[in-house]
Symmetry: C2
Subunit: 228 residues, 2 copies
């Protein structure tokens, strides 16, 4: 689903030690090597890119040895695929947790989601950018397995937006050729593009500006016809 900001804890509710730092202070507890490796991959690839991140670096950040790495993953590519799938899971809370998901109006829920994404655009760039978006840039032509895994993650994100958008299209009248999936993909495109701009300046401000335009567009799209 391509989230950009992780919950403070892992999917299972247990904090993964040292992930995000360059090197794990402690050795990962037995049974958590796999999760620690995936979390380390998320953080390092977002910062350095996929090809520039070495297996050794990931192991060091995860507090695990190379033997553990290749016990759990057949190759660096296999880790990338698993990490893309895990990324989808890491995004799920984004669609269930926030308060705006309780609103009655589908448009209000959609705008609430955009606001939620806007609020994420803060702090160090590598902490709000998208793991799969970063990885697919490098791997789309060289590893179809990675490409497909990233596609699945992005698709899952878009499809999670579809119900609210479809409902908004029903309630308000949008232009004929606006489809729920198409608009969801456009939202994703603006987010991904805003991440790239933020990387060029190493500052989130330019990304917020773009998401503001996105929000205005959605408001205009679904404006009641007689509105001022």
């Amino acid at each position: 689903m391509s989230p950009n900001h992780p919950p403070a804890s892992g999917a299972d509710g247990q904090a993964v030690s040292g992930v995000g730092a360059a090197i794990a202070a402690t050795r990962a507890p037995r049974g958590q090597a796999r999760a620690a490796l995936i979390a380390a991959a998320h953080s390092m690839v977002r910062k350095q890119g996929y090809a520039a991140t070495t297996v050794d670096q990931i192991c060091a950040a995860a507090g695990v040895t190379k033997g553990a790495f290749f016990h759990h993953f057949a190759s660096k590519e296999a880790l990338a695929v698993a990490a893309a799938e895990a990324w989808t899971e890491r995004a799920r809370p984004m669609f269930e947790m926030p308060p705006h998901t309780q609103l009655d109006d589908p448009l209000a829920r959609l705008i609430g989601h955009i606001d939620f994404r806007f609020a994420m655009l803060d702090g160090p760039v590598e902490e709000f950018t998208c793991f799969v978006g970063t990885m697919v840039q490098e791997a789309f032509a060289t590893s179809d397995a990675i490409r497909a895994a990233c596609e699945a993650s992005i698709t899952a994100y878009c499809e999670a937006l579809v119900p609210d958008i479809a409902a908004a299209i029903d309630v308000y009248d949008a232009p004929e050729d606006v489809t729920a999936l198409g608009l969801a993909q456009h939202i994703q495109a603006v987010l991904q593009g805003s991440f790239i701009l933020a990387k060029t300046t190493n500052d989130p401000a330019i990304a917020r500006e773009s998401v503001t335009h996105l929000k205005r567009y959605i408001r205009m799209l679904f404006a009641p016809p007689g509105a001022p």
Copy 2:
């Protein structure tokens, strides 16, 4: 300026042999090694990413030896910076050449530019995506020289759009807080984001959909207040 499609010939009007292919068929003529290396870097980095592209690969694609490479560039990073600057130059014709630049109405020129970018979204993905956008993803945190060079290229593109947008803001009335530079950056964000989506599917169609939304947004922004 971050173009996405090169003119068929180099900046000096002479075709660079074999660039775009994996390996140059012929050796580059004396005096053209530098240009050939930059062109090879553009094509290989767009396909594979920066870190995954080796100096040897670039040399092979350019039809020159490693000796020539390090004669012209102090390091791989120095080539990256030079290639980012060259990318800006490669984009310039995009703002001068096309017929729509002759139109009287600034909004028509702007829409014409969007149409022009839309028309580029065709063929193999690595042939319309952005070199600096790809590179900055990987290098923003590890090489400030590369990051800054990519920022300069993106900024140049945005600033080339500013005059027409500013004129359109003057002629038509847009919302208060829309600035010319901000909208130019949003246009760039949508393009960059659409490239990422195209990479996930390995198909330009999803990118065209997003640019269509962008075009609609711009039309709505500058719609005459009394229009239907």
